[in-house]
Amino acid sequence: MTRYSGGLIDRSREITFRFDGRSYRGHPGDTLASALLANGVRLMGRSFKYHRPRGVLSAGSEEPNALVELREGARQEPNTRATMAELYDGLVARSQNRVGSLSFDALAVNDLLAPVFAAGFYYKTFMWPRTFWEKLYEPMIRRAAGLGSLSGLPDPDAYDRGYLHCDLLVIGGGAAGLAAALTAGRSGARVILADEDFRLGGRLLAESDPLDDAPAADWVARTEAELRTMPNVRILPRTTVFGVYDHGIYGAVERVADHLPVPDDRVRQTLWRITARRSVLAAGATERHIPFADNDRPGIMLAGAMRAYANRWAASPGIARDAPVAIFTNNDDGHRTARDLIARGARVAGVIDTRPKAAQTTAYEVFAGGLVTGTRGRLGLRSIRVVHDGRERWIDCAALGVSGGWNPVVHLASHHRGRPVWDQDIQSFVPGQGGPQGLVPAGACAGRGSTAAALADGARAAQSALTEIGIGSAAPDLPRAEDAPVRQAAFWHVAGKGRAWVDFQNDVTVKDIALAHKENMRPVEHLKRWTTLGMATDQGKTSNVTALAVMAELTGRTIPETGTTIFRPPYTGVSLSVLGGGATGPDFRPTRLTPTHAWARAQGAVFTEVGQWMRAQYFPRAGETHWRHSVDREARAVRSDVGLCDVTTLGKIDVQGRDAGLFLDRIYANTIATLKVGRVRYGLMLREDGFLYDDGTCARLAEDRYVVTTTTANAGLVYRNMEFARQCLWPDLDVQLISTTDAWAQIAVAGPKSRALLERIVDGADLSNDAFPFMACRELTVCGGLRARLFRISFSGELAYEIAVPARYGHALMQRLVEQGADLGVTPYGTEALAVLRIEKGHAAGAELNGQTTAAMIGLGRMVSRKKDAIGAIMSRREGLAADTRRLIGLQPVTPGQSVSAGAHLFARGAPQDTAHDQGWITSACHSPHLGHSIGLGFLEQGHTRMDEVIVAANPVAGETVELRVVSAQFIDPEGGRLRD
């Protein structure tokens, strides 16, 4: 072990975990990264492209290198940052992106080929031959370059979502965030404090500087304890606020059970949508590294991370407690690391400070004006090459801390296209104007990074945010804290030979940036895409600013002139499981069931999805071995006896008001206002552009009341469009609309014996043809006083009705009709027979009303009334639509036994089968049990004038060509006598 004494880990308990098959020990409070370091493990992963051995770079969510596959089996989670994985007993992790073992990765051969794998290599190399891309190049590249792997198994865990509201959301629980939360909490404001860490404190936990002469962790604990007593404050640890969305809504993921071996009955993670009146962004800062040759060996890490491991986790960065450690810095922070390490008992081999006037100390050797220009150690750092005073020397060390200054974490502040601005004084980007409204950056993320400044700034930001929403607050007494000035120097990389890594995760070097410059990929956005810098799981948190600075140096421009990229959500990766909010499989979206669903299920119905609805498709009976047996039987029963079909799913809109008729005249293409009370009319609705979009019936129940029926698919759309028309187009009309689709169970009773059946259930109503003719409707009672609505309408072409009762009685009504109709041969039928019947009758349905067809095309052009205006009427007469001469026709095979296939395109015999000669297409097809052969409906050029002509239907997908005869679309009873009998 390489543990120092102290630290914020629970030494009273020891937990075991496995990494790459080996067992190790750690303590509660550890992360996987800290526990590995404490066990002397420096090599934690392989890089993306060159498979270079890599160790941990950081101690936080910015980690580019130490990515592992966490857990096993279905819970295996790739690309997990070891720095964020909270250690638990039995944790299992594996290194990833390797072929062979971590210490011997066969794909490390890529590193030897680095000279040819420079930036832009793929773009240039894999262009030819083009056909090789999909089958050879892409699979090969994906296999060679990549990160972790998925288990391929369904996620066994539960996820949840939720909504929170507060006056002030504090993002980050470090010095600034705690001060902000304390200020706001004491004011009585509703506060949510979220931090991605499992422990509040941020950098206060990583530094040795006291607060009020006591360890900072004491103040953190006291503050947290006080906040927890406040009912108006909610603390969300393990919660990453990953994005800012419109209207003050923040997206956050709470890792509820990620720190447990298995979640048991808990949810694994929760997606929170937080509506905050104001927010304080206290996200802190990420340390910069300094690229120099071979700066990526395991053991080289950020100096601030080294302090965090030493102070918070008591873990030595080297392979042993007394292994020598060196520091390379361009600012005072590197010295802070050296001091802390020495205090912990480490041996500091020297601090190489790029500043020629760096202060000397007796505690360790300072190489003022020195540079690190190279390193040795294949799987872990052994020594560094230092140039100092014109001399070059190798210094042995097991770890090197690098500090190039700090980058404020401006991500969330730039989510609404708020562009960060360059602060020349601190050589950093800080949040600019124009970011999310109501978000106030504070502390290190605003460039105020000393502990004292961060504490004060957090309190100030909270006060300022609360003042804006009328909540008074007082600044709390804040502890005395270090207040070292932030002095950051413009020293961005060490020039020289060898590869100096800028983006560790994407293996982008200073040379790659120089190449991008040479190839004129100079705008920042081009640089990113050309080199892949800043992509993948870390999104360039440790590389973006350094890359910009290198590009600025190459172009001779300033950093602000070079530009900056802005950041999009999410701040860190968010799993799709939690984004889905926990709904999976059949629960992924709502399902709607008809009132007779339970009855149909009991009958053994096979169901089909129609939008959100589940509808009975057919009702198999014993002995029927193919769906066609059932469907043919059901369709025949309707034409010979009587059938029953639940048609509740059709949309029903109740339209009332003094101007209801006038309103519907404007909605429907045909005239409705003249419809008499007690009658039904078929209607067409057009889009504004003149195309058909829905059809259905409209029944007039009273002078000032209609019921509009829509297709199942368009029920919501028609209602929405009608509401828009009512509220926005014609608010002067007196019309009231409300959907009643679910309120009424509606059953189609179709077939020559339908009247006889209905006469057995209505309470004395006269259903004779004279009293209740085709297209009549009335309100009546059935089955001893139950209110009902009866419509004499037909989709099948037979004598038919639809009867509606309150939905709760739909089930019993269906049962009653089945009982009462037993001697009439009553037969339930599903959507499949429904489709057969309507194709035989030539009724247009969804396949014909596909948004590309007109009223004229389905043979109903004259329904678009010229006596009044209606939505889409004028546009339907425009040249482009009026000139469309394709018409709905029926089709049947010339050779008996051949099939009509929906989707096939129609051509004249002998004509080339290409777009120029396309004459139409087949919309619907089925086997007609009444005709005994396949039939279809389709649109054909001048179809209505081509009866009996033989044409060709080509189905290139199936390689079929069939000769079809053009016939009337009404295969059954073209005169329409049956439905009027």
């Binding site: 949840d160 808990r266 949810v267 709607r592 008001g657 009643t740 939905a807």
Partner: protein, 194 residues
């Protein structure tokens, strides 16, 4: 009286209910519902003596309640009267109070109602609701009702008192709504929530 048996939105004879921890979830097929919409130029009536509430409001009367659902539109509820022609009763009730011009539509079976009642005060209910609907509890106390989205379903949520809410969802989606509510209750009870 019809001899047809009524079925719940789940196709069952009896309503569903489930008690998990402090919270009881109960299907309420007995509540009648009708929409009442003012016609142009009409003033708000006071059916059954109800003072029809403003936006976001819920007014409870004797055996009847009303909540605002759109400008000039309310839903009128009546527990225990679902099997009657409640819409006709609303029309009569409006006529009895001076006869203003309104449109009334039967809505009882357009929806399914679930009561959620806490035996231990508002805290468990608030914890549950924050998993279900995007409503700010500070602005959504007793006497408030709103239309919102719950698991991609349109619902009315009524806060009858601190420890009781009613959720009106689409009747045909009752199964999906029950699943969402039941799953949230179950998780709350196993301590998955704070």
């Amino acid at each position: 009286m019809t001899d047809l048996a009524s079925h719940t939105a789940f196709g069952a004879a009896q309503p569903r209910d489930r008690t998990i921890g402090a919270l009881a979830l109960t299907e309420r097929p007995d509540i009648a519902l009708a929409s009442l919409t003012l016609r142009a130029g009409s003033r708000a009536p006071a059916p059954f003596g109800l003072d029809l509430p403003g936006p976001g409001g819920l007014a409870e009367g004797e055996g009847v309640a009303a909540f605002w659902s759109a400008p000039g539109q309310w839903m009128i509820e009546a527990p225990g009267r679902a099997e009657s022609d409640f819409a006709a009763e609303v029309v009569r009730a409006v006529g009895d109070t001076g006869g203003t011009d309104v449109s009334v539509t039967e809505q009882t079976d357009g929806f399914v109602a679930f009561d959620i009642v806490s035996r231990h005060g508002p805290a468990p209910l608030d914890a549950l609701l924050e998993r279900l609907v995007n409503l700010d509890p500070a602005l959504w106390g007793p006497g408030r009702a709103t239309r919102t989205v719950l698991h991609h379903m349109s619902v009315f949520v009524l806060r009858r008192d601190a420890s009781r809410v009613t959720i009106w969802g689409i009747r045909s989606a009752a199964g999906s709504l029950w699943h969402a509510l039941d799953a949230a209750l179950t998780r709350q009870n196993v301590g998955g929530y704070p």
